[in-house]
């Protein structure tokens, strides 16, 4: 029996077992919770009153087409859903931002400006002999990461378990993997420590002062191991850094990787972002040329990480219609007075009735689909674990677009 794939974190593990309608998530609580979501309601609503899908789609079309500036966010959808939402955004001149995309965009901004040295899971799982975990335990976001990339027993090109180190706050250290070196620093000093590590790797002398106390011995050990490694890897989540420091951190990591690559191999794996975050970024890149925070208002795609931040736009009331999409995680729309079309999974409880509610299927539960892993290259197919007749995000967005019609 082949496994099924799980879209509820960026690892997209595809060895879960579906038997007699139940999913064995291979010990992952996140996956278990995702596949155990209640069937909830299938009722579409307009202004709180039950409506047919067709009527709800027509009402959504009227709301979006009549708005001065619509916003499409949430964006928890499979690739087909994102493709259809972008078509709708292009037609309505909407602004598109994945909800809480800031951390991911911080990593991508460094790639846009400076580049990257990266690898996919398959390379790290089969080669990495020295690993630095940066900032916090990545298994909080990606529960089976160690199992799949570091504790795998049949790696092609490393015989022993990899040497694993940690640089970050002790309270957030991983507990599920033996750490050869711990370099404890609080979050407030994390970027300083990364800078120091970069200097040490380059052979610069770094000393502590009265003001700064960094774990220099541990940093020295990490530096030596990464330099001596055949294939090193640095794993981090941009969200582990404060908003202002995430780009600095990603830049420092790249600086380290570039120096190490002069003599050996070392790669980065930026983590984080659930809800098909990379699938959203990839689809936006191929359709619009930007990975996020795009406005179609002027008729051409425009990217601005500050202006087109969904949270800011809602808080500042710079938009007058909201299309909230949450098919993957059951996230209700943020509290706002902006008239809202909610394309949400059947188990999402809305804090207040939305102008229009369209209940959509959850990819991997109600319908098949595809999502992209956090390492960006690999898309995986999703099966329908409990197929239902709920429309997909793609179908709902297409129905709305159809009712708006072609531009005159």
């Amino acid at each position: 029996m082949p496994g099924i794939a799980c879209p509820f974190c960026g690892l997209v593990c595809d060895d879960l077992v579906l038997e007699a309608g139940r999913v064995d998530s291979r010990g992952c609580a996140k996956g278990a919770a995702g596949f155990a979501r209640p069937t909830g309601t299938r009722e579409h609503r307009i202004a709180g009153r039950p409506a047919t899908f067709e009527a709800a789609a027509a009402a959504a079309a009227a709301l979006l087409a009549g708005a001065q500036q619509p916003l499409i966010t949430g964006l928890g959808a499979d690739i087909a859903g994102v493709r259809a939402l972008l078509a709708l955004a292009d037609r309505t001149g909407a602004i598109v931002d994945r909800w809480q995309s800031a951390a991911q965009l911080n990593n991508l901004a460094v790639m846009q400006r400076a580049g990257a040295l990266a690898a996919t899971f398959g390379e790290i799982a089969n080669r990495a002999d020295a690993v630095l975990l940066l900032g916090r335990d990545p298994t909080r976001e990606h529960p089976r990461l160690f199992e799949r990339l570091l504790r795998n027993r049949t790696a092609l090109y490393r015989s022993a378990a990899p040497w694993v180190s940690y640089l970050g706050p002790p309270a957030l250290a991983p507990s599920d993997i033996p750490l050869a070196v711990r370099a404890p620093v609080e979050a407030s000093a994390l970027v300083d420590a990364l800078g120091a590590l970069s200097a040490v790797i380059r052979g610069k002398r770094v000393a502590n002062s009265a003001a700064v106390a960094l774990p220099l011995a541990a940093l020295g050990e990490i530096a030596e191991r990464l330099k001596a490694a055949r294939y090193g890897a640095i794993l981090w989540e941009a969200a582990a850094f404060t908003a202002g420091e995430a780009q600095i951190a990603a830049g420092l990591v790249l600086h380290i990787l570039r120096f190490l690559t002069l003599t050996t191999r070392c790669v980065g794996l930026p983590l984080g972002g659930s809800d098909n975050a990379q699938g959203v970024a990839q689809t936006m890149l191929w359709q619009a040329g930007w990975p996020g925070r795009v406005s179609f208002a002027t008729g051409t795609p425009e990217h601005d990480p500050w202006r087109f931040d969904a949270e800011r736009l809602l808080a500042a009331r710079e938009v007058d219609a909201l299309l909230w999409v949450a098919a993957l995680s059951p996230t209700p729309p943020p509290a706002s007075t902006v008239p809202t079309v909610a394309l949400v999974g059947p188990d999402v409880t809305l804090p207040a009735p939305a102008a229009i509610e369209i209940r959509v299927g959850v990819p991997a539960l109600d319908h098949a689909g595809a999502v992209v892993r956090v390492d960006t290259v690999i898309a995986l197919p999703l099966a329908a674990a409990r197929p239902s007749a709920l429309p997909s995000v793609a179908a709902a967005a297409a129905a709305i677009l159809e009712r708006i019609g072609a531009p005159r």
Binding site: A80, G122, A125, L156
Partner: protein, 554 residues
């Protein structure tokens, strides 16, 4: 519904038609004979115009993860070049790295009706095909990258018999919905993951001890035995290195007479003579191509200006990072089956090396005698964006223009090339061969690239113009499967082109060892690796399968 294209001059070299005035009739997307009852539903007056089959680009990086990374890296390109949505069309942007919709519109508007993505990493196949579902109008297809996949290298290291290699190649082509197989720096991408920084054709790779020559032999032979129409699409080792002509010539020999296609050959035609230790070896390669009828090549012409190089060749791209302009680059090791590297480039006419690269590409075009065996590419976007094609056509057809351009280049480069003394000018028929008839033949697309009865009605109609750039920049009409997709007022319709594939047969016994390899080492399950027909259907991908003619040994 019968559409008549009336009274145009028809240039259809595949059928021996060279500019004769004749009517074309289209029914249900196909070229048909004149209707017996004379009934015509729609007629286009093509008097004074010239009709050719739609052009086919056999090598253009249009889709997939590498192209998306290039779009990300080239954010200036998307800031500076934007395309507004139209009544029919979607918005987008980019010149060197256009968004998917814009790619389709621009190709169609230039008279192209197909473009083939030449470097699909196996593990990226699903993403690449989903992306191509948003590449409108034109047909497409992919060549899957093999020869740096750890499984194949291990099979070769273990001395696996050729039949099993054939089975593996066939399985991989089916799994990834490919039309062809490309090998990129065979063995070199894998070597780079083991910290190898160079790999020549007879050098044993660092882990497996397999030489690039062995990879080329095995793959070229596999495709021949499987009867895959497109020969091994080969990006040789040592891209960009002065003196790499020796490697390129050795690669031809490595094919041992089996068909082989050398891609972006301009980047592989370098000598190391002269004061600057960089010279043209185009004449040597052209001579080898003229002599070896199993060899075809596309040029990968460079044109001056800003672009980005997007390649599976991480080893070469790491070397080339020092030339990055603007100064930023991305390298990625991918899933034990490939890699990719993105390095922005600005080719400058006053730079000796760039200027000579330009001349080397043109020398190749002009010194290879048989237009059926040389193909017009810029290796989009590596040498230049595909929108440079009309200018390139003019360079080939107009010696005066070519020599005027040559005179503006770096003086030492002018002295280092024989280009100025080459009198040849391509004829329209030769252009039609190299951009239509021959690509279709080389890819096994029997009903494309020609306008005979039964052919797909992919047609470009041009107004004759002595300025060949202007002529090829803006065809009067373009038809895709009989539908007018581009006309005098721009994009006229948005049919979805097909995705061309082959599905060579294999012995199902091969899947056992492949499954074991996936179970033990890969991070995608064996069952999830292949694309299913259902997935392609759901995404709106229209698959057109072409026949293979297996030549298995008894």
């Amino acid at each position: 519904m019968i559409t008549k294209l009336a009274g145009g001059f028809v240039l259809d070299p595949a059928n021996g038609v060279n500019g004769e005035q004749r009517d074309l009739f289209i029914d249900n997307g196909r070229i048909v004979g004149a209707p017996a009852d004379g009934r015509v539903d729609r007629s286009y007056d093509l008097r004074g115009l010239m009709a050719m089959a739609g052009a086919i680009d056999i090598h253009s990086h249009v889709s997939g993860g590498k192209v998306n990374l290039a779009r990300l890296l080239m954010s200036e390109d998307h800031r500076d070049v934007t395309v507004a949505r139209g009544a029919l069309t979607r918005s987008g942007g980019g010149q060197a790295t256009p968004s998917s919709f814009v790619t389709g519109y621009r190709y169609a508007a230039m008279g192209y009706t197909a473009a083939f993505e030449p470097a699909m990493v196996p593990s990226n196949a699903r993403s690449a095909h989903l992306e191509m579902a948003d590449l409108p109008i034109i047909d497409k297809g992919t060549y899957v990258m093999l020869g740096n996949d750890e499984l194949l290298l291990r099979m070769l290291a273990e001395g696996t018999e050729q039949e099993r290699i054939d089975d593996y190649v066939a399985w991989m082509m089916q799994a990834t919905a490919a039309l062809g197989v490309k090998t990129v720096n065979p063995g070199g991408i894998s070597a780079f993951k083991f910290n190898g920084r160079g790999l020549d054709i007879d050098q044993a790779g660092p882990q497996h001890g397999v030489t690039p020559r062995r990879v080329i032999q095995a793959l070229a032979r596999a495709l021949h035995e499987l009867g895959v129409p497109h020969p091994l699409h080969t990006h040789c080792n040592n891209l960009g290195i002065p003196g790499n002509i020796e490697t390129t010539l050795a690669t031809i020999a490595a094919a041992e007479g089996f068909p082989i296609h050398l891609t972006h050959a301009q980047f592989h035609s370098y000598g190391k003579e002269g004061d600057r230790h960089f010279s043209s070896a185009a004449a040597r390669l052209a001579e080898a191509v003229n002599r070896n009828r199993n060899v075809t090549l596309d040029v990968g012409q460079i044109m001056f200006g800003q672009t980005v190089t997007a390649s599976g060749d991480t080893m070469a791209q790491y070397r080339n990072r020092v030339f990055a302009s603007p100064d930023k680059w991305i390298l990625m090791d991918i899933e034990c089956d490939g890699g990719c590297g993105l390095v922005p480039f600005r080719y400058r006419d006053k730079n000796f090396v760039n200027a000579l690269q330009w001349a080397i590409g043109l020398e190749l075009f002009l010194l290879i005698e048989d237009p059926w065996r040389v193909f017009l590419t810029t290796d989009h976007p590596n040498g230049a964006p595909f929108t440079a094609y009309p200018t390139l056509v003019r360079l080939l057809m107009d010696r005066g223009y070519r020599n005027d351009c040559l005179k503006t280049l770096h003086p030492a480069a002018q002295k280092a090339t024989n280009l100025g003394s080459i009198a040849r000018e391509y004829t329209l028929e030769e252009i039609a061969i190299m951009t239509r008839a021959s690509p279709a033949r080389l890819l096994g697309l029997a009903d494309r690239g020609q306008l005979g009865i039964g052919a797909a009605a992919d047609i470009a109609v041009y107004a004759e113009d002595a300025d060949r750039e202007r002529m090829f920049r803006a065809p009067r009409y373009v038809f895709k499967d009989g539908v007018e997709v581009s006309g005098e007022s721009g994009i006229a319709a948005l049919p979805m082109g097909a995705t061309h594939v082959v599905r060579p047969e294999f012995d199902k016994g091969v899947t056992g060892p492949i499954k074991s390899f996936f179970d033990d080492h890969m991070t995608v399950g064996f069952a999830h690796f292949p694309l299913s027909q259902g997935e392609l259907d759901d995404a709106g991908v229209r698959v057109l399968e072409h026949a293979c003619r297996p030549r298995r040994r008894a």
